[in-house]
Symmetry: C2
Subunit: 919 residues, 2 copies
């Protein structure tokens, strides 16, 4: 018999053409006929009525909402259906997340959030066994690795390159084992992976969804259009086409896990894949590499929101119930948790939603921030013992914080979510010209006051009027905070002070323009004002680095193909971009703390290249937009770094911020590529970094958000920073990607690239910790000055750390969060890959009992990555991969030592549910 598994499934976008609310309630039918509540309302009774029927539900963001509104009677019915396996949750995250533009931390969090709801609501029977990504536009290796670590038995997806798919169909290799980590011990990151034969669609002619127009089954023999016999024979025919063996057809309602279990029982041997599924193309000129960059402001806001959520989560643990209920009201991390869960959706952070939906995602995140701001205020008050008038300045990147600008006295508290102390510089918009700054111990701190640049003034418009920025270095202890006090000095002259520190560069008449600190010198071409060389002063070598912005003409379709560049698809009209400017106006700001070159490329593109004292990277703060489209040309803007490095077509990009994948221009590891788009077809997602190297030298660029990037010629790296388009790309969103921005004139985006130039051997030691420091940056909270004591019984602290000592350099505290009313969650991560670092690419041991000073761990239980199973209970299906010997489970448990002693191998994440006692 040929068994045909019919899998009725949900595919409920957590926002796309409509907002999440609109999809849930079924509103805005003029945009799209879709209402999730109606799906569940109608499926449940059908399941209940017919025991043979099955349904799989995917998106917990929606299910959670629906569940809240059900009667006890319905809840009972649903629970029974879950227990009997008739309603099965697959994937089970809060959403079906994007894989190209997401960071591993929020991926893990959003999956955990969904799992937690399922587990709390239904228990073990609802634990998803199968990962199910039928829509995301390409698939990352890290995603598969995380899925494996979450205990999934297999993974099904829908989209892969059309050449790859054809090749696999020919080779009958639509299903195989994905070895998703180059670091984790086999088979910990092995994931059985199946490509769905027809994406998320049923076979042609058999779609009876409200979105389809196929003829229904007409089973009344008395009627003219009776078609049962014809449909049955068609069905049998396509069943045989998909699977040649098997004689007769046995059809039944099923689920992916049933299918997987049957397949596993067949005891076949599977081939192994170890690269990823990027980039995705569905035609010769249809590379879905535009969304790697689409909506750059939303992408940054999402990354920053994760940063704040981790701060919020940690403070909820450290201050315990005082965080939730305190002088600032009800603090709540769940709003931001859910908003971040939603934001991971494959039409959210991906930037492929309609504009009004993107606005709604932003609004949801902002509401999450508000609830966390209350929580953080409560927690800081409780921990510091001071009740302050806290001010959250969320527009510091454009030097806007009106409530602070005017203050004569204020405090700056930084909370550091990393498990090691950090040194950073803060920049505060102020109106005074001279300030004194004291550290937590009262010692005076070096500081500078510099005028707010014209670039920033143009961008911020009337949102703020600060004349100057106060800049000073701070040190923040691990998992803790420092409070700095600032006072304006009276009556100091603004102008005299500032003229001293600012030297305006004259292009003519000087043949060298440079900035430098202890570690780095950056040279600029005196004629063009462009960066031309970086020197590593410690290691005493230089690399010519010519940096400029360029823009590709976005295709509006041509004779070869009508495909236009759009929210999803990147298709440049020519393969060579236009340089933004051949020379730029520059001026320099040189102070004792930092040196800056301001480059003005065009009226809508500028950059500050900055070296802070003691920092080992060059900071490039770029500002791009509003991209002008008055010439009716869509533009895709890149920042490009051209060097003489001999790279042989090879470059490196991260996978969701974790492991690094080697990329080769015009090449795919598993099939012979016919390259049809020399630029777009070589773009890859860059979530945190891209780099290139020759035998000795490595140039690494860290990003502050996900961007598309590539190396289109040897020695060159480019990152797409912004795009504004005039045509829809015909993948459903129905809008040209042309973001209106703050004032409707077009979106302005500001961001940073951090450049490391070092030896190949030493580079990971720099970029690994810095990447963590960027996505878990210290959070700045201002207050109006000396507050009132929160409680007389508390010490008043201006410095605090929850750790006894910094964790080792290669160990990252990925998660510290409350789990439920009794327990907490700790995730530890080894943040180096094998072979990356002579020092840090080694197993690391930590005694959890000896890490935290703020509390004592009273019990500890290791869990799967998604926290829905005890690690000890994990038992995934074993898939035979032929000649390779199956590995054994990673022996990372420090079995010999106490159960608190944890060993982590490179790139390993270990998850613990703990009970604690606060000290």
């Amino acid at each position: 018999m040929l068994n045909v598994h019919l899998v009725p499934h949900s595919h409920d976008d957590v926002g796309w053409l409509k907002t999440v609310d609109q999809y849930y309630y079924g509103g805005e039918t003029g945009i799209q006929r879709a209402g999730v509540q109606y799906i569940l309302d109608s499926v449940i009774p059908q399941l209940y009525a017919d025991p043979a029927k099955r349904f799989i539900y995917v998106e917990v963001a929606f299910f959670y909402r629906w569940w809240k509104q059900q009667s006890d009677r319905t809840k009972k019915v649903v629970t029974q259906l879950v227990n009997e396996g008739r309603l099965e949750f697959v994937n089970g995250g809060w959403c079906m997340n994007d894989e190209a533009t997401t960071h591993y931390n929020p991926i893990i969090d959003q999956m955990t959030l969904g799992f937690q709801f399922l587990n709390d609501t239904f228990g073990e029977c609802a634990r998803p066994r199968v990962a199910w990504h039928i829509d995301p536009f390409g698939h990352s290796r890290e995603q598969a690795s995380l899925f494996a670590q979450m205990g999934f038995d297999g993974f099904f997806f829908g989209r892969l390159d059309y050449q790859d798919k054809k090749d696999r169909e020919n080779r009958r290799e639509m299903e195989q084992v994905w070895r998703a980590s180059a670091n984790l011990a086999k088979p910990n990151a092995d994931l059985f992976t199946g490509v769905l034969p027809n994406g998320y669609n049923p076979p042609s002619r058999l779609c009876w969804d409200v979105l389809c127009t196929d003829d229904p089954i007409k089973d009344d023999k008395g009627m003219e259009e009776y078609n049962v016999d014809e449909i049955v024979s068609y069905f049998i025919q396509i069943a045989h086409r998909q699977q040649s063996n098997g004689s007769d057809v046995n059809v039944f309602y099923s689920t992916p896990s049933c299918y997987l279990y049957q397949l596993n029982k067949a005891n076949l041997t599977w081939s192994v894949k170890s690269d990823d599924f990027f980039p995705y193309a569905d035609g010769a000129h249809m590379f879905w590499t535009g969304y790697f960059t689409s909506r750059p402001a939303l992408k940054r806001y999402e990354r920053l929101s994760n940063n704040f959520l981790q701060v919020c989560n940690q403070l909820e643990v450290l201050a315990d119930s005082a965080a939730n209920s305190g002088p600032y009201g009800v603090g709540d991390s769940s709003v931001l948790k859910r908003a971040m869960g939603v934001a991971q959706h494959h039409d959210a952070v991906s930037g492929t939603e309609k504009q009004h939906v993107a606005d709604d995602y932003g609004k949801m995140l902002a509401k999450g921030w508000e609830a966390c701001e209350v929580l953080v205020s409560n927690a800081l008050s409780a921990l510091s013992g001071m009740k302050q008038n806290y001010i959250f300045c969320n527009k510091l990147n454009i030097s806007v914080c009106p409530r602070v600008e005017e203050l004569g006295k204020f405090t700056v508290t930084l909370y550091n979510p990393l498990a090691r102390s950090v040194d950073v510089y803060v920049r505060i918009p102020v109106n005074g010209s001279d300030y004194s700054v004291a550290d937590p111990r009262g010692s005076s701190v070096l500081k500078e006051v510099v005028p707010v640049s014209d670039f920033t003034k143009a961008v911020r418009e009337d949102r703020g009027y600060a004349l100057n920025e106060l800049v000073f270095p701070v040190r923040v202890p691990a998992l803790g905070f420092s409070t700095y006090s600032v006072s304006r000095k009276s009556a100091s002259s603004v102008l005299s002070k500032l003229v001293r520190s600012v030297k305006r560069h004259q292009n003519q008449g000087q043949n060298q323009l440079a900035i430098e600190n202890e570690y780095i010198q950056v040279l600029f071409d005196a004629d063009t004002g462009l960066m031309k060389e970086i020197e590593n002063r410690q290691k005493n070598f230089s690399l010519p680095v010519n940096q400029n912005f360029h823009w590709y003409v976005a295709s509006s379709g041509d004779q070869k193909s009508s495909q236009a560049s759009g929210a999803y698809i990147f298709r440049p009209e020519q393969q060579t971009p236009f340089p933004m400017a051949k020379s730029v106006k520059t001026y320099t700001v040189q102070t004792d703390l930092f040196q800056e070159v301001y480059q003005n490329f065009t009226s809508w593109c500028s950059q500050v290249i900055r070296l802070y004292k003691n920092q080992k990277f060059v900071e490039l703060e770029w500002t791009v937009g509003p991209i002008p489209v008055g010439d009716h040309i869509g533009k895709e803007v890149i920042s490009r770094f051209d060097t003489p490095l001999k790279t042989d077509g090879i470059f490196y990009t991260d996978s969701n911020g974790r492991e690094i994948l080697r990329r080769r221009r015009d090449y795919r590891p598993t099939w012979k590529l016919n390259q049809t788009e020399p630029v777009a077809g070589n773009y890859y997602p860059v979530n945190t970094r891209i780099y290139m190297k020759d035998g000795k030298i490595q140039l690494t660029i860290l990003t502050d958000r996900s961007q598309g990037g590539s190396s289109i010629k040897d020695g060159s790296l480019e990152l797409m920073v912004h795009r504004r388009l005039l045509f829809d790309d015909n993948r459903g969103v129905g809008e040209a990607l042309s973001e209106p921005g703050y004032d409707g004139k077009g979106l302005v985006v500001r961001g940073k690239h951090l450049i490391f130039l070092d030896t190949v051997d030493a580079s990971a030691d720099l970029h690994r910790p810095q990447a963590q420091a960027e996505y878990m940056a210290p959070w700045i909270i201002m207050s109006e000055g000396s507050g009132t004591p929160y409680s007389t019984q508390l010490n008043h602290l201006s410095e605090f750390s929850a750790l006894k000592q910094d964790l080792p350099h290669n160990l990252h505290l990925l998660t510290l969060a409350r789990w439920d009313s009794q327990s907490f969650l700790i995730r530890l991560e080894h943040q180096f890959e094998i072979g990356e670092s002579s020092v840090y690419s080694k197993p690391v041991t930590v005694d959890l009992a000896n890490v935290f000073s703020a509390f004592e761990i009273t019990s500890i239980e290791e869990m799967s990555l998604g926290v829905n199973q005890r690690k000890a209970d994990e038992s995934r299906l074993i898939w035979e991969t032929g000649r390779e010997s199956q590995g054994v489970k990673s022996a990372s448990h420090g079995g010999d030592n106490s159960e608190h002693t944890v060993v982590l191998n490179p790139m390993e994440i270990r998850t613990f549910r703990v009970h604690i006692q606060h000290r």
Copy 2:
């Protein structure tokens, strides 16, 4: 409290944009998203789950289908819901029938068919109490009268003239009592009638149907778009707008009958209306008077199908089970009953459906014919005792019957469904030039053989090749048949024979062209060839009658209004039509049996004006089409009769073939009309007749189908016979009405107008019986010749009547049909109105026991018109109408006599369920 009744209702078109099957199964979603099975599938569980909910279901054609497919469990649930009043059937006919283009006989049948299903399936609890016509495009008085006679407590509809509606809203007279008969005793035809405030739509912004795009109720307070408070306050506001009294609002799910019952309890006094709701307009240039004529061929086919269904029903009674099972297979009247039920739908016979749907209605009727042809064959065999090779010639109107044309010997059997004997002429296409015809007793019959006209040859194309037509008179006994035998005479010359009887008229050289019989002479203008005068030879008076065809230019929209003429709407561009021809080519055929003038107006319009011996009317057989539209002008063709009669703007049209309504040009009886369309705004439905008169003389035209008609100037009558349009009229059908016809070149339509010219006093005596004779014409069944005995035990009859004697002239046997396995249905109708006839407008008495010779009535029970209640049990709500005294129930029961003796007053219909014993 202001009580607000929420009435969730079905509105399931029994065909319109999609066929009935397509609507039921939800196919062809590209045309329209609508699937009836899904509505019932989803409503029932919701009703079951919440006892507060209500649903009313209207269209039994769909419900019947759905019911057949349900499990016993579902059936039980549904029965419970019906018994508890949570699922209520309203209207309850097979469909929601059209009112303008329907004939009362099929209306009664289709309502009865639906009622029967409901009664058989659910019993008394499912009896519909309320009539519900929320979509038909205007409302006939006869429909209301029939509803009253069916026992409905009230009637709700949606569409009425926009001026009328505004006026009623102002006067707060949206509800009143409709006195729907000028003949029946009060309150037998009184019907409480309510106009729905917003048609079939909910108030603006509150439509959550799949067809609407209103915002759903979002009741999650946690979400951005929460809108419960706003919607509730809006709801209260509109509730108050509709009904000013009442202080606070009490909302509940309800049904029309609950509402009606509450209203009745309020004991208010209601105004009375006694005209109708035609024509319907929804704007100044938007008169829905085009559909009175749209799809003239379908309208004729529907009328003819009713004729055949009555024949089929009667023979099923007369031959009993031998009709259903016999030598010709399984005979079945139910297929045609259901097809006719469907064809009454307000987008079926109305002609307002898409072309493919019209084709489907035709196909359904044809299947009904097939099943009835078997039944009729079985029955005739059983009754005659002869097994014949029966041939049903369904294209005799275009002289096509290939199987008969060649035969040397054949029989012609006519079955007469009227309860009185009739004399008619038959015309059989033949190839021979001379035939002998014998009546049932073997006596020779006068006959003529004439060549098939060129007009007919052009129309029939290659569907038949008969050279000649054999014409002879037949007499058929009441409710019975006669069989005539035809033999071709050998070797007679075709030409010599025919030349004798055909004189071709020469326009020039003769100053008078005329045809005549004993009763009538028709004069033609020798110059133009057009009819110019009719003389009533018995009464010795003449009337100049100038008949011609004309056509209106169909508007495609203009500056006044963008409204185009379309399937629904008639909007001529100018108010004066173009004459089809100023003079016509004619030729005359004069035989001993009949005289004919053939008029050729244009290549696509011709007419035969015919007088048969002994007939008191002039027959005008017109042939129109394909209407040419190569000039990009849509055309609406009328036949117009201009006379010098002084009619003062008054003319008369029938209401669904029963009572006559007086019409006055540019006038409405109940409100001051602002006439904005001098032609279209004066059109009325003509189902069977239109007439005009002065003090003495009446010119009456009988039609063979429903047509639009009017009197645009005094002394003139016009009937629209055909229309072909190039634009959709924007009422949803989405197609221009341009019927392709048999060969795709455009529809050709042939039909008849019968003209009576008589005194006013004598006219009804002619047109009443003749109208019945037209819609219940004798059915012609051929056979190949002398058959074989069916059974040796039977007499071989060539003549048969099921009646002991003809019924009185004013008594019509409306229905004789099997009801169920035990009982039968008899409907008797008094077919004259009060005052119409000095002889026949009187009560008539009949002893049912003494009517039928074929069977004996063993028991008799009088039922309501729809047969879903015993007459004795009828108890309708009483509605106070003020100063008028309420009448008492019609005392038409012949209480003194035996229960078999039945008295009928003018226009009364009485319905009996009887048990019989065949003799």
